[in-house]
């Protein structure tokens, strides 16, 4: 129904225009045959004898489509790698990608379709918190494991949901004391006005206090803000030594740029947060050069597996910019999940889910990475990277096994 390796359709470049018409025709044919084929049986259990199937729900259109595409790219390469190495318990791995356009209503529908119609063994993907929540609930109801690769914490913990991105504590625990020591004790928090930045600020405040600093300002602005002057003015009047920012998406760029123009962000002042992500480096350039950032995975890691992945990624997508962290998280996350499936020795989603919870797995993300049962956060290494003028995120320090065991409700 769906080929194992749908040709990665390149959305970045204009040459794609040339191949569009045949691709569209092929896609249409694919969809039509797909619709016909799936009509008959309606039991939820995946065929245990067949290939291992992953359902991928990502936004490929809309404001976060870039991140979604990166996640899908990472996943594709992981599946290709696993298949080249002989598949999972002798069977090939397949995946089905669906585009939810960042709308949770779509995510629910599509996740249900993947579970019921495509009978996937596991789900993977989603970028924004609301879509993650939507798919998480479907996965929980259907008892199908669901992996995410985006950083940050999801609001709810589900028994079937596993996060491969770094949790907020894992991000901030190694960072905050250093910032306070280096720049000073006064910390300002700023974020886009939605759930996650508020949560981030809560954790940050706690850690700042622990490190002996004080939070001197806390500001939120609605998503899509184009004029940051009032916020920057208020931040500036608090005279912070460090700014921790969870202003996300396009706003991360607008905020950082305007903060620099208004003289809030000088090289002397510490700055950490979403604006320093590799996605925004091409846009912000000199503004972030020389700063350090804490990540789970960077494309400058020099272990063989990461190097091979980065090489493949660059080759497959003619990629020049830094490879997004989410792609790496997805790559190693999917490998983790498939290793769990291998260990379970079956395609049965419940068995795989059980296996995920108990697996300890060595990868570039850390030695013996595993999930904490209390919060389903992957216990793994964190890295301090320094951003170079050429856009390189060079690893300058490794924090081995940064744990986060703060319990969350609903994990079991």
């Amino acid at each position: 129904m769906v080929p194992s390796y749908p040709r990665a359709r390149e959305r970045r470049m204009t040459p794609a225009l040339r191949t569009t018409a045949p691709a569209l025709a092929a896609a249409l044919a694919l969809v039509l045959t797909g619709c016909q084929g799936a009509a008959l049986s309606d039991d939820d259990a995946p065929a245990t004898g067949g290939p291992v199937k992953i359902g991928v729900v990502v936004p490929l259109t809309g404001p976060v489509s870039q991140v979604g595409t990166a996640l899908r790219n990472g996943l594709e390469l992981a599946v290709r790698k696993v298949n080249a190495d002989g598949g999972v318990h002798g069977r090939p791995v397949e995946y089905v990608v669906v585009d939810d356009a960042g709308d949770p209503a779509n995510s629910t529908q599509l996740a249900r379709r993947l579970v019921r119609q495509d009978k996937v063994t596991m789900l993977f993907g989603t970028i924004t918190g609301d879509t993650a929540e939507a798919v998480g609930r479907v996965a929980d109801e259907a008892h199908v494991p669901f992996g995410t690769a985006i950083l940050g914490d999801t609001e709810h913990c589900f028994a079937y949901q596993w996060g491969f991105g770094e949790s907020t504590r894992q991000m901030l625990t190694p960072t905050v004391p250093g910032l306070v020591r280096k720049h000073g004790t006064k910390v300002a928090l700023v974020g886009s006005d939605y759930n996650y930045p508020h949560f981030y600020a809560g954790v940050a405040g706690e850690l700042v206090k622990k490190a002996g600093g004080t939070v001197v300002a806390e500001e939120y602005s609605p998503l899509g803000q184009t004029d940051w002057q009032p916020v920057i003015g208020r931040l500036k009047s608090a005279a912070p030594d460090t700014v921790l920012s969870m202003v996300v998406g396009a706003d991360a760029v607008t905020f950082a740029k305007q903060a620099q123009q208004f003289g809030l962000l000088t090289p002397k002042i510490g700055f950490e947060g979403a604006s320093l992500d590799a996605d925004f480096q091409p846009a912000l350039g000199p503004l972030v050069t020389g700063r350090t950032h804490t990540v789970r995975w960077s494309d400058r890691l020099d272990d063989a597996e990461s190097l091979a992945f980065v090489k493949d990624y660059r080759a497959a997508h003619q990629w020049k910019a830094p490879v997004p962290e989410v792609a790496g998280n997805a790559y190693f996350g999917v490998k983790f999940l498939l290793a769990a499936a291998e260990k379970a020795g079956s395609n049965d989603p419940e068995a795989v889910n059980k296996s995920i919870g108990g697996l300890s797995y060595d990868s570039p993300l850390g030695k013996g990475t595993h999930f904490d049962a209390a919060n389903h956060v992957l216990q793994a290494d964190m890295r301090e990277v320094t951003i170079g003028g050429d856009g390189a995120y060079t690893v300058t320090r490794t924090h081995p096994m940064v744990t986060d065991t703060t319990p969350k409700k609903g994990c079991s």
Binding site: L24, D42, A105, N106, R112, R113, Q117, D130, A134, D193
Partner: protein, 578 residues
């Protein structure tokens, strides 16, 4: 009373086509219903789930159609109402409240928000701008509230909703609700309410002059539209599985406009067809075409607006409806109207005003007018330009409220009465530019007038040709015929006092003479009093029992034309000499 039967209309080109049309008109809804009923058996689970979502969107679009399509009130923030319904279900589940109560509360809240919004909109001369602004504003406000009140609403992550099995049983529930709402809607718009709405949305001025309370009719339509949207939202919550502040957003509000514009307005099928098509397309093609799907949708949308501005279902619907103008009165309302007992005007004085004043800003247009019109008399109002004649007529008809003075119509104090109530008292009105519902056929225009008339009158024989003209829209008639149609429409409601503003303006001398004769005839036959603003002295001479001269906002002189014309004060006023 007999209404001209359909067979009186010009014979249709071929009887067989008409037969086919009639069969199809009956068969198609049945077929569509059967197909929808059969869907769960023939389609796979995901297709049914997609169809469920499509129907849900369809119901939303159908709700919007009641306001945008039927009432002509564009709402760009209809997702506000949709979101209320969706959150009602989500909140009920989250906080363990009975969902019936919360959904009822949401529907009530939608109506409570909709009514002031539309009232404010309709209070403006052109309701579009304030209405668009208010609906967007309300939607954004609710979205902000849902984002900020995180402890209750879950903030941006929203609230999860787990419902019954979405694939089979829920499809049936949704289908049933959609069918019930659709059926109620059809009953509503096919009846007198629908007929009123057609007139009120197309020509509020004429509708009010036909005795329709346009504000009330359109407000009701908008409120029902908001309620249906809230209901659709409530049904949507379990299908979506998660309700987040996005449901209030501009994205959804504009999507629903697109579904409706693609499907076709003022139809029951159109909104559902448009919404289902786009939703199903999104689910099946969206993942593969990705960005190209949206681009293709935008292109398709542009194409449809250019080529078939009435929507994709408009052409087949038009064909099914047979020859005639695009807009018709709903068939059910065409039947003979029932009559309400009317208060007899008797011999009471049709019009008596004293001390009427009206200023626009610093300009005093009417400076204390005293005037009476006796039953059966024909009074002509003349005066130089700017004397306030039209303003006075507008005050009498109810378009303008006087600043001071008393106004009695048939003995009743009418100063504060809205236009349609004055019509109920027996006032008819003809405008300077003939005002008929241009989109309806002349026959439908007359039907509409009779539906609302307190004492419907058979149109006189000389208007027979208009009463039987079913095939062209009234807007296509030549000016003289439109003038005659307006007269016929006004007479159909059996007025006792007829207000006319330069009835012969723009007519050739022959048509003007014919019209004057007809007016005189009406006056003689029905005993209806006339108050006519007129410049043409030939017409005044033929028509007037009495002439009133208005100058600088006051009555200057009154009496037979020759006496008045000889009055030196009048001569001064006209010639400007002192």
């Amino acid at each position: 009373m007999t209404v001209p039967a359909a067979s009186n209309a010009p014979v249709a080109p071929a009887v067989s086509t008409r037969g086919i049309r009639r069969t199809l008109r009956l068969a198609l809804p049945g077929l569509a219903g059967a197909a929808l009923l059969a869907a769960p058996f023939g389609l796979d689970a995901f297709a049914v789930a997609t169809l469920t979502l499509g129907l849900c969107h369809g119901l939303f679009a159908y709700g919007l159609d009641l306001s945008w399509g039927r009432a002509g009130l564009l709402s760009v923030g209809h997702a506000a109402f949709f979101g209320l319904g969706a959150y009602a279900v989500a909140l009920a589940q989250e906080h363990h409240l009975p969902w019936t109560a919360t959904v009822a509360a949401a529907v009530a809240a939608a109506v409570l928000i909709a009514v002031p919004v539309v009232r404010i909109g309709l209070a403006a001369p052109v309701p579009d701008a304030p209405l668009i602004l208010l609906t967007i504003g309300v939607g954004l406000l609710l979205q902000r509230a849902a984002t900020t009140l995180a402890p209750v609403t879950g903030g941006t992550n929203g609230l999860s909703v787990s419902g019954p099995d979405v694939v089979t049983s829920y499809y049936v529930t949704l289908g049933a609700v959609a069918a019930v709402v659709g059926a109620c809607g059809v009953l509503l718009v096919r009846g007198r309410f629908g007929a009123r709405l057609v007139a009120a949305s197309r020509n509020p001025e004429r509708a009010a002059q036909s005795g329709i309370d346009t504000t009330r009719v359109r407000t009701a339509a908008f409120a029902v539209s908001a309620a249906v949207a809230a209901l659709a939202g409530a049904l949507y919550a379990p299908v979506a599985g998660l309700v987040s502040p996005q449901v209030f957003g501009l994205g959804l509000s504009t999507s629903v406009l697109i579904w409706l514009a693609l499907g076709g307005r003022e139809s029951t099928v159109g909104p559902f067809a448009g919404a289902v098509a786009v939703t199903v397309g999104q689910q099946y093609l969206g993942s593969t075409w990705q960005g190209w799907y949206l681009l293709a949708l935008a292109a398709l949308f542009l194409l449809v607006v250019q080529v078939a501005p009435a929507g994709l279902t408009a052409a087949p619907r038009r064909w099914l409806a047979g020859p005639g103008p695009d807009v018709r009165l709903p068939s059910a309302s065409r039947r003979a109207p029932y009559r309400t007992a009317s208060e007899s005007a008797g011999d009471r004085l049709p019009l008596a005003v004293t001390g009427i004043r009206k200023s626009f800003g610093p300009v005093e247009v009417l400076a204390g007018v005293d005037l009476t019109v006796e039953a059966g008399r024909c009074v002509c109002l003349i005066g130089p330009n700017g004397a306030g004649k039209s303003t006075f007529l507008n005050v009498v008809a109810g378009q303008l409220a006087p600043d001071a003075g008393t106004l009695r119509l048939f003995g009743a104090d009418a100063a504060g009465l809205p236009v349609h109530r004055r019509v109920g008292l027996g006032v008819g009105r003809m405008f300077q530019i003939p005002s008929v519902v241009a989109e309806l056929s002349p026959a439908d225009n007359l039907r509409l007038a009779r539906i609302e008339a307190p004492e419907p009158a058979e149109p006189p024989a000389e208007f027979r040709d208009l009463a039987e003209d079913e095939l062209r829209p009234a807007g296509a008639l030549p000016l003289a015929d439109r003038r005659r149609l307006e007269l016929a429409v006004v007479l159909a409601s059996g007025p006792r006092l007829l207000l006319l503003d330069e009835p012969a303006a723009g007519l050739g001398p022959d048509d003007a003479r014919r019209l004057t004769r007809e007016l005189r005839e009406v006056n003689r036959r029905t005993g209806c009093a006339l108050l006519v603003v007129e410049h043409d002295m030939d017409i005044v001479r033929e028509l007037a029992d009495e002439v009133v001269v208005l100058a600088e906002g006051r009555v200057l002189a009154r009496g037979p034309l020759d006496t008045v014309a000889a009055d030196p004060a009048v001569r001064t006023a006209y010639l400007g000499a002192r």
